[in-house]
């Protein structure tokens, strides 16, 4: 019994870490390989989760529609939810890229914070869109009729890991292509890249959109894991900050590194939950803040003492240079 509980715990740990690894891969395309400063990941997280939720659930009817409002409900299968989430995030990233990618990198950062906050405000206040602050519940889980619900997490873990590996291979392939080398050139020295005749704006836009699509898939995976979403999940703390810590801790510009970073930082985050058990009673209610404080301090330590992260950047990415 005890062993069973530990295994169940490990499985749910691995699912969340795997979902975060997908976000980290998305951010790694933008930041690690192209130097795009996106600090509005929570916005793409939120859009991905909601779009997939609304694609895969039916539109409420009858009495149920009195209590749950959603703008559309297509009742389509899970893969189409993932696809829709990716496409929608790509479109939003494209729109945000137009005014910001020609300017210095900070402007993208400020604009992405803005989009993340705005998205959360819209989902919170517009009840007709996706049920306002109460959010959506009862999202379907793929292949859920195959096994007993008690063991469903095993199947979901396999799904998450497969999607994570597919995205990993896709990015590895892309980054080792001429296209990927241009991205790295832009990150290294934008002016030299431009002088080599590369259209910087187009390449940055492709990287931003690609990364955002991956984040959208991450959001969809999260939504179908928890089966219920509401706007208060997608805060800057939970949706953006921890992902940055994972990418920097693991090593920006290294896909294996950021996956490792996701698992290590998620383990630290879960570990601090056990640590707060020992807090005096008066501080118990504030335990989450103490945990975030520790994660913040961890980030500052890494930035100062080990800025390259655990694995560091892969210097050679061409398969011709062995």
């Amino acid at each position: 019994m005890e062993i069973g509980r530990i295994i169940a715990y490990l499985i749910s740990f691995a699912i969340m870490a795997g979902i975060y690894a997908v976000f980290c891969l998305g951010l790694n395309i933008q930041w690690g390989y192209t130097g795009l400063f996106n600090i509005g990941i929570a916005g793409f997280f939120c859009i991905g989760a909601y779009v997939s939720a609304m694609i895969t659930t039916p539109k409420p009817t009858g009495l149920y529609a009195e209590y749950v409002h959603q703008i559309f409900g297509l009742n389509l299968p899970f893969p189409l939810g993932l696809l829709g989430a990716a496409v929608m995030c790509g479109i939003i990233a494209f729109l945000i890229g137009i005014p910001t990618l020609k300017l210095a990198e900070d402007y993208l950062a400020i604009a992405t914070i803005g989009i993340a906050e705005t998205v959360r405000l819209i989902f919170n206040n517009e009840h007709w869109l996706a049920n306002g602050p109460r959010g959506l519940m009862g999202l379907p889980q793929p292949l859920s009729d195959l096994v007993d619900p008690r063991y469903y997490n095993y199947i979901y873990l396999v799904i998450v890991v497969i999607i994570m590996i597919v995205i990993y291979l896709l990015i590895e392939r892309a980054i080792r292509s001429p296209w990927g080398r241009v991205l790295r050139a832009i990150r290294g020295d934008e002016i030299s890249a431009a002088m080599s005749g590369k259209n910087i704006f187009n390449f940055k836009m492709q990287s931003l959109v690609f990364g955002a699509m991956v984040m959208g898939i991450g959001g969809a995976l999260y939504a179908h894991y928890t089966k219920a979403i509401s706007p208060d999940v997608f805060t800057p703390l939970y949706g953006t900050f921890i992902i940055w810590v994972m990418v920097i801790a693991g090593g920006s510009g290294n896909n294996k590194g950021v996956i490792l970073g996701a698992f290590v930082v998620w383990a630290i985050w879960i570990g601090t939950r056990f640590m707060t058990e020992f807090l005096p009673y008066t501080l118990k209610a504030r335990a989450p803040y103490i945990r975030y404080l520790l994660i913040g301090i961890l980030l500052e330590f890494i930035l100062i003492y080990k800025p390259q992260g655990l694995l560091g950047e892969e210097k050679k990415v061409s398969k011709l240079l062995e």
Binding site: A109, I110, T118, R286, L299, L303
Partner: protein
């Protein structure tokens, strides 16, 4: 509508104070300080600490001045809190940003570090004070003064405008008349040139952080007097602050002043058509418009 414009000017003056600090730091250190909003939060809470803690114990009277909602405690807490946040801001530079500068980290690394600092600051505030909304003086509604055009305004709000005006004049005189002010402007124009002219850049940076932090504290307290204080207030101000600084051209103090007023008025007037919670979204859309039409801001010359 006239009333909303007046309230917008009050809110805008608070945004201006924050944006001036942000734009000074941006101009001299060349990086986006994402922790600036949270310095406002700290300022507001440190004033709350003084008002409800030490000043009560040492027996400073609690009664208020005439029509205002505060008394001696707040008058004394105000400069103390500005000093304290100026200190916090310099401390952050010593612990984090200076280390990164010395290691040759890029401006984006500094900005990420500032983002981390903003979360650290907010978490410390949350651990000490909790997540509840607070007032400096709960439950007392002051009578509003009636101005022409049906505008009702509280005496506190007029005082906020006067305090902001005085602080801006002081900063103007500091930048124009004192040696350190001139050194700051020189560094903002061209750091290398300033360095070879014998200006101690590290001292200039320390002063910049100190002034930026103190102004942020003032903005936070004034917002607390006008509305209320809560731990997310600084983060909610971040978008309006950046919108104001960009609108007024990054690095330009007077631009940030004008930008803050424009953003504040736009945010308040928008509440006639939109839910008040969309205020920061309004600032965001104005910012996107500026970035599309004139990314260097209204007072910027050509692009750098």
């Amino acid at each position: 509508m006239a009333e909303l414009v007046v309230y917008g000017i009050v809110l805008g003056s608070i945004i201006s104070l924050g944006a001036i600090g942000l734009t000074l730091v941006y101009g001299i250190l060349q990086f986006a300080n994402f922790a600036h909003g949270d310095l406002m939060t700290v300022g507001a809470y440190i004033a709350l600490f003084f008002v409800s803690g030490p000043f009560a114990w040492i027996g400073i009277p609690d009664n208020t001045f005439g029509p205002f909602s505060f008394g001696w405690r707040m008058v004394i807490a105000f400069p103390f809190s500005m000093l304290a946040v100026g200190g916090v801001s310099i401390l952050l530079d010593r612990i984090l940003y200076r280390n990164l500068r010395n290691r040759g980290s890029g401006r984006v690394t500094l900005a990420i570090s500032a983002l981390g600092a903003s979360f650290i600051i907010r978490m410390v505030v949350l651990i000490i004070w909790g997540a509840d909304y607070r007032f400096y003086r709960p439950g007392i509604l002051r009578p509003a003064l009636k101005l022409p055009l049906g505008v009702k305004i509280r005496p506190d709000q007029i005082l906020i405008l006067i305090v902001v005006f005085l602080l801006v004049i002081l900063l103007h005189l500091f930048l124009q008349r004192t040696k350190m002010g001139k050194a700051m402007r020189a560094t903002s124009d061209n750091m290398e040139l300033a360095r070879i002219s014998g200006i101690d850049i590290e001292r200039v940076i320390t002063w910049t952080w100190g002034i930026g932090g103190a102004l942020a504290a003032a903005a936070g307290i004034l917002y607390g007097i006008d509305v209320q204080i809560h731990t997310g207030m600084g983060w909610n101000f971040l978008i309006p602050l950046f919108a104001a600084a960009i609108l007024g051209s990054i690095g330009n103090m007077y631009g940030a002043l004008v930008g803050g007023l424009v953003i504040g008025v736009a945010q308040q007037v928008s509440t006639a058509f939109l839910l008040p919670t969309y205020k920061s979204a309004v600032a965001f859309f104005i910012m996107i418009l500026i970035l599309l039409i004139r990314p260097q801001g209204i007072f910027g010359g050509g692009r750098k």
